[in-house]
Each structure stands twice: as C-alpha cells, then as structure tokens.
Amino acid sequence: MSPEDLEQIAEDQRAAQGQFTHQVNVCVAAGCMSCQSQSVKEAIDKEIVRRGWEKKCQSKGTGCVGLCSEGPLVSTGPGTLYQHVTANDAGEILDALDGQPGSRLICRTDVPFFQRQKKIVLENSGIVDPEHIEDYIGSAGYGALIRVLTDMTPSEVIQEVVKSGLRGRGGAGYPTGLKWSTVSKAVGVQKYVICNADEGDPGAFMDRSVLESDPHRVLEGMLIAAYAVGASEGFIYVRAEYPLAIKRLRTAIRQAERMGLMGTSICGTRFSFRVDLRLGAGAFVCGEETALIASVEGKRGTPRPRPPYPAQEGLFGAPTLINNVETFANIPPIVRNGGDWYAQIGTEKSKGTKVFALAGRIMNTGLVEVPMGITLREIVFDIGGGIPDSRQFKAVQTGGPSGGCLPAEYLDMPVDYESLAKAGSIMGSGGMIVMDETSCMVDVAKYFMDFCMTESCGKCIPCRVGTYHMNGLLEKITNRTAGQQDIAMLEELCDLLKHTSLCGLGQSAPNPVVSTLRYFADEYKAHVEEKRCPAGVCGSHAAEQAS
C-alpha cells in the first residue's frame, strides 16, 4: 500500500458515504448493547428495506457516544441525537429524517455534557464503524502510519512524541517519549510492544470503550510505536471479561493484515510488525507491567523487582515497550498534527486530554474526554450534571483501589497528575466515582481494602499480610467494635505497606484509607467513639440478610 492507495480508499469511502442523503448511526458499544441496541439497529435496517430507502439512507453501527446512562443512543446527523430508543421507534426516527426531529426521544446536544468536552482519543467514537477498516481510513485513519513510514525516521517520531509532552495514561504518568527512547536505545535483536488493555480497575471502562469503538486507532498507535522503537512483534493484553472488545480487535487485526497495513514488509518498506492477542484472566495485579509480562509468558501474574525495567529486559528477556490503550490512541493525532499542537492543550506538566469514566451518584454517567487542568467541579457538576435526587455531594473517588477519595473542598482543584497526587489521590486510569451522603466513607475504604486483599498476588509479605490485617481492622471499625488503638494500628500499617511493598498494588493499597482518614476523620470517629454509622450503611447489609 502506498500513500496514493490509502488516499484512494479514503476517497472511495467518502464518495460511497456521499451517495446517501441520510445517515443513521446506532451506538453498538457495550453500554448501549446491553440495552438491546442491536435489535434497534436491526429494526432500523428492516424499516429502511421496507420503505425501499436502501439508496437514500444508510444505517451504521458505531462506537460509544458517551452518554451511556441514556442508551440506546441513535444519531441521525450532527446535533440530532435520540435517547432510550427501542425497536418500535425505528419508523418514527426515519419519518423525522426529512422533517423536524421527533421530540419525544430527542436528547439535547447543546448541553455542557457535549459542549465542554474536547475529543482527541474519542474523536471517532460514535462516528466510525469499528468493524470496517474503510470507514476508519475514510476519517484520516492510517494516514499517520503512512506518513511515519514514508517521511520520518524513528528518532523523528520519538522527537515528536517527546515534544507533545504525552504522559502514560495508565495512571503513573511516566513520560511516553522518554520510555520510547529508552526502548529504542536498548540493545536487542528482538523487541516487543505490548498494549496494556487489562483494565482491572473497578469503575473504569475507558479502555474497553476505546477498543470497542475505534480498535484501528489503537493498532495504528502500536504500529507507529513499533516503528519508532524497532520492534517486530506485539501483544495486546486484553481482559477476557470484554468479549466484544476482543471480537472487534480480532476483526481489526485481520482487516489490517489483509490491507497490508500489518504483517511483513508493511507498505513495501522493510518494516514488519505482527500483533497477537493475549487474554487476561481476571487478575488486577496484571496491570502492573512486570506481572503483565509474566502473564503474557504464560505464568502466574506475579511482579518482580525493578530494575531491570521492561524497557531493558522485558518479555522473554527482550527490551519491551508497554503502554496503555489510551496512550496508543493518542499517538496517531500527535503524528498527524504535530507534537506542538498537542502540547498546547492542558497544563504545564500534564498535556493533552484525558478520558474519564463518570459513574456512581451522578446524573450523566458515561464517558467524557476533557482537557487536563479542568476542575473537578466542572466535570462533576457541569458535564456530569450534578447529583441526582437533590442530594449532597460528598466525595469523588479517582484512581480506583490505588487512588483516594477527595472531598468537596477539592472540587476547584485542577485535574492533572501533580495536583491529584498532592491531594492524596492519583490520576489513575480514569475511573471517577461520585458519592453522595448515602455512602459511608469507612465502608468505601473497606470495599477497596477487601479488593486489594483478594487481588494481592501473595509474593511479598507486606502486601499479602498487611492488606489482610488492614481489612480486618476496617471490618472491626464498620462493625463498631474498634477502639482508638485500632485506628493507630491502621495508620501504622498504611505507612508500612506504602514503603515496603514490592509493586504498585501494595504501595498504593493504603491510598483509599489514608485519604478517607485525612478528609473524613469524623466518620471514623463516629464509628469508633459513638458506635454509629452516620450514613446508616454499616450493618444494614447484615440486617437485611438476617431478615
């Protein structure tokens, strides 16, 4: 394939699209899919055939539009979005194509949820059909890869990524350009690129959505990375719990290979790259890079001490580049528009945009992409629409089991890697769970500690034994049988785990406890001294079970 061939495919695709006067896009990502959007799409297809509109109107299954709570979502053009669509509404939607959009199902798009977002990673989500490579090529897809292969040297690609200031979107925020140049300088005949799609963090579904909505973009990002660091083989480590994402990735890889965009001698150059899928099997610790490597090698997912870092000695002992799904998805636009363009967005140290999965006690649950540096208040109250049932905001939890709970005082804090870390939480992979006064913060801390205890791989003692004891202490507090000495012990264990655990799981496991102790000390006090749970959560499950 040459640049001209690619342009030809893109043009053919656009011409084919242009023949239709109308376009009906039905969201077929996992959120809407579980509200039966597949049957909506079938009903619309049937209705188009019944009316004989095959030449006039095209229906297409697309990726996630973002507003998962209002699904199934159907879009019939920019600004016209229908919510809660059922199979029976197909006729009404097609009727409205020529006239005024029907009012009953209309979902307003002039609201902050849509207006305040800035889409880079998700620019194709809800527009492109994830199961057709031509559609992706039609919206400038694989253009960045061709450009890299034809006019850029590997070091120029790395320079561009360094200039963009992109940092790892998996959570830790390590500069991507630096990681790439380390791997490219490492000595080795064989090098590997791994895409970390093991989104084990409960409450996060960004990677799943990107893989389901725009799998080719992730592949393109991986191809560019492989060219830059000199790798010829790659793996995508994806959770087995995401069957739809796996299916679409398999389709995407097959299509890219058929087009000659992946495999041997890509586009007639000497660059070859193949990608294989590896399915995770439900272990949170496999998000840690050395554990992930062990799992790809077919072993138990236990981490090992670093250094040597995977960049020097990773998969099968070879230099390995590991990046998150969202990091790879950022690469094609960076190459296309230049690193300087990307560096304009965001704050001084955190560039670009970040995708967050909004969930919990919030009006608009779903996926949002916002520029770095936006405040939490804007995300929760403007984009998220605030708290339902006129309840009070209590906390927002970021970063999953490794993050912390931030109270209302921090709502005006900008969202970037440094500010979140200073406030005792982390950026994490992008899960954002909002809680109102019906949540007990001690119970939430216990929930996360129970998670870390179960997910601890058991290799190092501080994590294996420490999480068990911390969970026991939190259980005692929520049972209201704890004393002052238990709080002191809990604080001591937090410190111990943080400084002596082998990997990130153990080191960050105390974060939910530390942050709730810091901001919601009165709730701990109520449980310990007054023997009551202010939110009325603790003990209620037990009472229900007994009834």
Partner: protein, 168 residues
C-alpha cells in the same frame, strides 16, 4: 532433557479436544502458551478439571503444579462446572455504591448459596465479578451472558422465578 516427544492421549475421546490440540499446535506446544490453552479448554468445556489440566501440562511439558498454579491464580478460570443458568452480580465500585451488595444478599437469601456456588439441584450458579465495565448502567447483573443494567431486587426475583419455573 526431554527424550519423549510422543503425543500424549487426550483424557477422553471427545472430539472437542481437537480444538484444544489446535491451539497448542498454533503456539508450537511452547510452555508460554499455557494460559491461552487453558482459555480454550474453558471456552470449550466450560471449566477445567484435573484430567484437562494434566493433559495440558503434559502436552506443553510443564509441571502439573504450574498448570494448577496458573488455573487457581486467575479468577477467570473455574475448576467446577457451572449450573444450568448463571447469574453474575457486578461488584465494581459504581455498582457497589448503587446497591449491588443488597442485590447479592437478596440472591444469597433466595437461593441459599454463597457466591461461587451452585444450587444443589444444579439449576443456578451465583457468581460475582470485579467489574464488568458497564459502570454507566450500575448496578449491573449478567444473566446467562446477557448484561442487564439498572437492576432492582424485583427484576432479579422475577428472573429467578422464570428460571426455576422453566425447570419444573
């Protein structure tokens, strides 16, 4: 040093073992294909029993202890067959905040089993998931591979009644 390169016999004459053999062949019978092979076994047979683990271990030339270690390390692998119907309650953070514990305790009460167990008549298996990624629809429950969002206790009881009614 390995001296015996003969192919071990599958645990049974079931034709589905050919799928498992095909996976192992594709990966060159290398030990790094252990997890991939176990996925195929579970996908084909629904669970991993001792015979399957021994067969995979011998075929890939890894100690049985390693195959067993991997199978028990990862939550996704199960060593017990599931019941006729499965009900998976998502216990992710968003679902937890929105009342998944209440759903789980209602199920535990109605079915009189704990998560990970199957009812004595082998009709319903109750499982929990760490996170399904359907957080926008919390609380989420998977009934026989079909994800349902915004589930309430009454929906849950209705579904259970349907399952048990079909049976008798």
């Amino acid at each position: 040093m390995i001296t015996d390169f003969s192919k071990p016999a599958p645990p049974s004459s079931d034709k589905r073992w050919r799928l498992v053999d095909a996976t192992m062949r594709r990966l060159g019978h290398h030990s790094r294909g252990l997890i991939v092979t176990l996925h195929t076994v579970q996908e084909t047979f629904g669970y991993l029993d001792e015979g399957a683990l021994r067969y995979v271990a011998i075929s890939l030339r890894v100690p049985f202890s390693r195959a067993y270690g991997v199978a028990t390390f990862y939550h996704f692998f199960t060593l017990k067959p599931a019941g006729e119907h499965t009900c998976v309650v998502c216990m992710g953070t968003a679902c937890y905040i929105k009342g998944a514990p209440q759903l789980l305790s209602a199920l535990q009460h109605d079915l009189d089993i704990k998560p990970g167990e199957t009812t004595p008549d082998n009709k319903v298996s109750l499982l929990t998931a760490r996170c399904l990624g359907s957080c926008g629809l919390a609380p989420a429950v998977v009934y026989d591979n079909e994800v349902a969002g915004k589930v309430g206790t009454s929906d849950l009881r209705q579904r259970l009644a349907k399952w048990t009614a079909n049976v008798s």
